[in-house]
Amino acid sequence: MNSGNYFFKFLVLVIVFTAFIFIAVFFGYFSDLFSNSLSEWEYISISQIRIPRTVAAILSGIALSVSGMQMQSLFRNPLAGPYVLGISSGGALGVSLVTMGLSLTGITFSGTGAFSGVVIASAAGCLLFMLIIFSLHLKIRHPATVLVAGILLGSAASAIVEILQYISPERNVKSFVVWTMGSLSSVDTDQMYVFIVFVASGIILSLFLNNVLNTLRSGDEYAHVLGTNVKLARILVFTSTGLLTGSVVAFCGPIAFVGVAVPHITRLIIGSSNHRVLFWGNILCGGIIMLLADISSRIMFSEIQLPVNAITSLIGIPVILYLVLSKNKISFS
């Protein structure tokens, strides 16, 4: 059909993606790179700081975009995103308990290397909330109920977090607040490998879900008569989203807007609604957007890094506004 068209578009995306990786890793060192004289510091900076950051940016971009695509299709809601299942609230609750709650009882919790306290707490919180939503879903089949449950859980978590913020000393509150701004720098080389494993598992699972997502576009009844086992499909989609989103929240904090905006950007660029094609498009676009956010946060002010969420909001909000205002771009009924 239009496979030539797709080829060209994907080629451009791959080129842009590669270019951004190059910039993210070698920014500021180009002259030395081309004259083949990287200093020792530059080498250390690249291997110890920039590569983990870049990998974190790419992984979170991929994970959030693909799970955002899944949630938007499953719930047939263009404003859905990876956090509708309450995953980020669970992570926030876990982290707040560790950074603020534990300080109230006097325990300091660290952990080492890949399994630092915050990562574990966040992952545990995400997992807990995911399980709650899952079991609710198994009892109540209507997807809208799951959305509502996610919202309620999120509110409950926020309430607890607020209480903790209120009664905790400033230093701990600041620690927590900074976590909520998202950070690509908190991933070190050990964590990077664990992060890669989790996202890879989520992505591999997602590969098998694109066909059923296509059938689910028309609702549960059509999906069923076209041959989809709807209940199983939902469980697997939730699992995949949980893996992808939960790992991003655990390692980078709750990065905002990427999961909601990028699937729409991808759909606009690619022009198809076929998940088999959108899947790869989202991987590339998600990576590109997060790399762009990473690069922007570093080059705007040379000495200070801006928090990731600020940049993703600046990119994501106009996209969503544009969508809401031009209804013909949304391909959901």
């Binding site: 066909n211 059923v212 059938t215 576009r217 028309s218 008569v225 391909s331 009924s333």
Partner: protein
């Protein structure tokens, strides 16, 4: 190949306390046959269709397709044998028409595979058979209702199943579109030997194209040849309250005559005569009378005149509009 759809002692509904189909229903549908489901709203037509594709589980009884119990199949296996198109098209997202048709191939590709040559060929064939090739790159909701219905037909065709179920496929369609749909159904059943089952409110067309009818009334379901059901006077008893009568001339329902219709004796033949009779009926006259001393009308196929005799007065008019005016005077008991 035993591909017969066999329904045995089926009772079904949304829950046990309120079954929609209460008395056990048994019937068969064979390859190459078109079966029509008719009856009033709420009588269970959609419920039956949904049960036949397992969107609803039977309360008792079973459905076999070629000796396989369909409820025991996995959704994927079932989708290879039975397809179903629902009424309306609003749940279909606004994606490209080509992508709608391609959705029908899910039962072929399964969860993992992408479209191969076979899938592509089936989609192309379905597109040609339904005549929507020129619509493929358009968005689904940018085309007309008739075109949408044909696209959904193409999707079901691409699914390549033995049994094809349609819930009111011709609803909301204009007459040419409606007949287009019926023609496609006819083609599919005869050429591809598929088993077609559809529900409709359009009784006269159902009688014309169905090999078999399942007539749903409040208490039971009658099945058989349309003519057989006609002879048994099933159609008249389908809708209670006696507001409707089935007219075997028109092969359709008519409202029972309004009382106090004025008898008129009309003579003539040809199309002009028939349309004049229709006008008189609509105005409230009863043209069935052969002798009326008070009022008579004579028309002639070859000229433009109507001769009206009323109360021993004769008036000749030369247009239908004048004729209507005069007849209204008769109703109002005014002189012509």
């Amino acid at each position: 190949m035993n591909n017969i759809l066999k329904i045995s002692e089926l009772r079904t509904g949304y829950d046990n306390a309120h079954p929609v189909i209460k008395s056990p229903f048994s019937a068969t549908a064979e390859p190459g046959q078109i079966t029509g489901i008719i009856g009033p709203n709420g009588s269970g037509k959609t419920t039956l269709l949904k049960t036949l594709c397992c969107l609803i589980k039977p309360l008792s009884g079973n459905v076999l397709l070629g000796n396989e119990n369909i409820t025991l199949l996995s959704p994927l296996e079932r989708a290879k044998r039975i397809s179903y198109i629902m009424t309306g098209s609003s749940v279909i997202p606004d994606i490209k028409v080509s992508e709608v048709v391609e959705m029908g191939r899910f039962s072929g590709t399964g969860w993992i595979r992408s479209h191969n040559q076979t899938d592509k060929i089936l989609c192309e064939n379905a597109t040609e058979r339904t005549g929507i090739s020129h619509l493929l790159s358009k968005r689904f909701h940018a085309i007309s209702d008739g075109e949408k219905q044909r696209v959904l037909f193409a999707m079901a065709l691409a699914q390549n199943t033995q049994v094809m179920l349609f819930d009111e496929p011709a609803a909301f369609l204009d007459i040419p579109a409606k007949h287009g749909i019926y023609k496609i159904m006819h083609d599919i059943s005869r050429t591809d030997n598929k088993t077609i089952i559809f529900s409709t409110h359009d009784i006269s067309n159902a009688i014309a194209i169905c090999d078999k009818l399942w007539a749903f009334s409040e208490n039971k379901i009658e099945s058989g040849l349309p003519e057989y059901l006609g002879i048994k006077n099933v159609f008249s008893m389908l809708f209670p309250d006696n507001i409707l009568l089935f007219d075997t001339e028109k092969m359709d329902y008519v409202t029972t005559s309004i009382s106090n219709s004025i008898p008129v004796d009309i003579k003539g033949d040809g199309t002009k005569y028939k349309w004049t009779v229709s006008l008189l009926k609509r105005l409230g006259f009863d043209p069935g009378c052969n002798i009326s001393a008070v009022l008579s009308v004579i028309t002639n196929e070859n000229d433009d005149k109507w001769i009206i005799n009323y109360n021993s007065n004769q008036v000749i008019v030369s247009s239908l509009a004048e004729f209507e005016e005069k007849m209204k005077c008769v109703i109002n008991k005014q002189p012509l």
